[in-house]
Amino acid sequence: MTLAKNGALSLEELAALPGMPSKERLAQGPVVVIECAQEIPCNPCEAACPNGAIKVGEPITNLPVLAEEKCTGCGVCIAACPGQAIFVIDMTYSEEEATVQLPYEFLPLPAKGDLVDGLDREGQKICTARVLRVLNPKKFDRTPVITIAVPKECAMAVRNIAIRR
């Protein structure tokens, strides 16, 4: 499965992206994962980062490059990305769990403490996730950012949630 063929990035495609943090950086604490794989004219992520950790430069079709040492995992870039391609992963959250911050423009919004399904890049349920935080300030402009806790092995796979009815 590839992005062009069915809409989901394969692991190989992901590994090749300049917006992917290294294993080492992931092990150190919260950091962004930029799943932006095509040269489209777009750079709000660069402008959004307060630490200069994302660089697009000229031309603006360049893929965003992550300067992982500068990234604090603040997550401001998540809602700023029109493609909803940016996530923040914290592998150091606990012994068993990692956290994933993701954009979620749907109703109803989950509440802190809810148990939801963790979905992968193809919408398959792969784990149960616990909602830790729901951020929806005005500056996110109706792109709420949800933080969930998931089993560590799922952190690089969970990219969406489904509310349980």
């Binding site: 992005l3 989901a8 040269e39 004219p41 031309p59 603006i60 890049r121 969406n160």
Partner: protein
């Protein structure tokens, strides 16, 4: 006969941008739109735009619309709404149906910013109620807030098909699949990924074969295609749906440009027959300009820049900007257009546009 300096047909992103640019320079502008609200397709675009800050990146289309309307109001543009331009006639005269009256407006310069219409695909059952254009769905759901069905099959995976599918999910519908006849997804990967994460299958090398139902769509039959776009017997699949949405690309809505006698060139990368125009957006008919989708199918962000170019060019032609002032303003816009037209998606359009400009210059 009424008169104005600059008549703009269509108050979408291109028309609004041109109006603002020209009016700020001092031009008397009349902006005409057939809808009861200006903004064109912007008010259906509830997603955040790409681009850079100068292109309103990260801002939702609806909010860009509000912003442009505000600017138009503050810079003294005359806006005629519910006004259908029914024809373009000799001496830059427009026939306009407005307020149940037929009036004639003569303008020194005219900008046609009439946008595009959706392409169709004829298959058995495509006339059944429930088969609709993607733009139709977007209008109904995002503007009128009515869902025409619960289960939708999307035909076409260009950006429109992908975005509308996502917006259908946001409005509470189920999208059973997105079909794409080509072996590759047509639109941006990020749009496709947003859908995939919600479990929507995107089926490449697959097309719609038939719509079935009694009185309205109840079932859609799809079929796989080989590398020569031939149907592969035995690959038919049935989906129970109540809406089949067609997102098969756009064609410039160029009737007025044809009527005005503009020369056209066939450029498939830009959506078909395109009025030949120069870097000022002026067509082969003196004083008639085009901008936005009518001058080649692109995006709202490029449409806004093209509108600005036309606005500047008209202000210059009417003597409101000196050549130097205009050149300076155009340079900024052209640089931004260049940015939008780079990369694997935009580069093709850049080449096509350059081909058109050269043609205009060689005449």
């Amino acid at each position: 006969m009424r008169e104005t300096e600059f008549a703009i047909v269509g108050a979408g992103p291109a028309g609004l941008s041109a109006a603002i640019e020209a009016a700020r320079a001092g031009v008397q502008v009349t902006l005409i739109d057939e809808n009861d609200k200006p903004g064109g397709q912007l008010f259906k675009q509830i997603h955040k735009f790409f681009g850079s800050k100068e292109h309103y990146a990260g801002v939702r289309g609806i909010d860009i619309g509000v912003q442009l309307l505000h600017e138009v109001e503050t810079c003294g543009v005359e806006v005629m709404l519910n006004a259908v331009v029914w024809g373009i006639f000799a001496d830059h005269t427009l026939g306009i149906i407005h307020d149940h009256k037929n009036l004639h407006l003569k303008a020194k310069k005219i900008l046609l910013a009439t946008g595009a219409s959706e392409n169709a695909l004829a298959f058995p059952g495509w006339t059944l109620p429930g088969v609709m254009g993607a733009g139709a769905i977007q209008t109904l759901v995002n503007i009128h807030r009515v869902l025409p069905g619960r289960r939708v099959l999307m035909v076409g995976s260009g950006n429109v098909g992908l975005i509308v599918s996502y917006q259908l999910l946001q409005a509470g519908a189920e999208v059973v699949a997105v079909l794409e006849a080509m072996p590759k997804i047509g639109g941006y990967g990020v749009h496709a990924s947003k859908l995939r994460r919600h479990g929507v299958p995107i089926l490449t090398s697959t097309t719609i074969k038939e719509a079935r139902g009694k009185g309205k769509v109840e079932e859609a039959i799809t079929i796989g295609l080989d590398e020569h776009w031939r149907e592969i017997p035995g690959t038919e699949k049935a989906y129970q749906v109540d809406v089949i949405c067609l997102a098969l690309g756009l064609t410039p809505l160029s009737e007025l440009a044809w009527m005005a006698g503009c020369q056209f060139d066939y450029i498939p990368q830009l959506g078909g027959h395109i009025p030949v125009h120069d870097a000022n957006m002026e067509t082969t008919v003196n004083g008639i300009y085009v901008a936005g989708d009518v001058s080649g199918i692109e995006e709202a962000s490029t449409a806004m820049e093209e509108g600005k170019l036309a606005g500047i060019a008209v202000a210059e032609a009417l003597g409101y900007l000196s050549a130097a002032e205009a050149a300076c303003k155009k340079e900024v816009v052209l640089r931004r257009l260049d940015e939008l037209r780079s990369g694997p998606f935009g580069g093709v359009r850049k080449q096509a546009k350059e081909q058109l400009h050269q043609q205009r210059c060689s005449q």
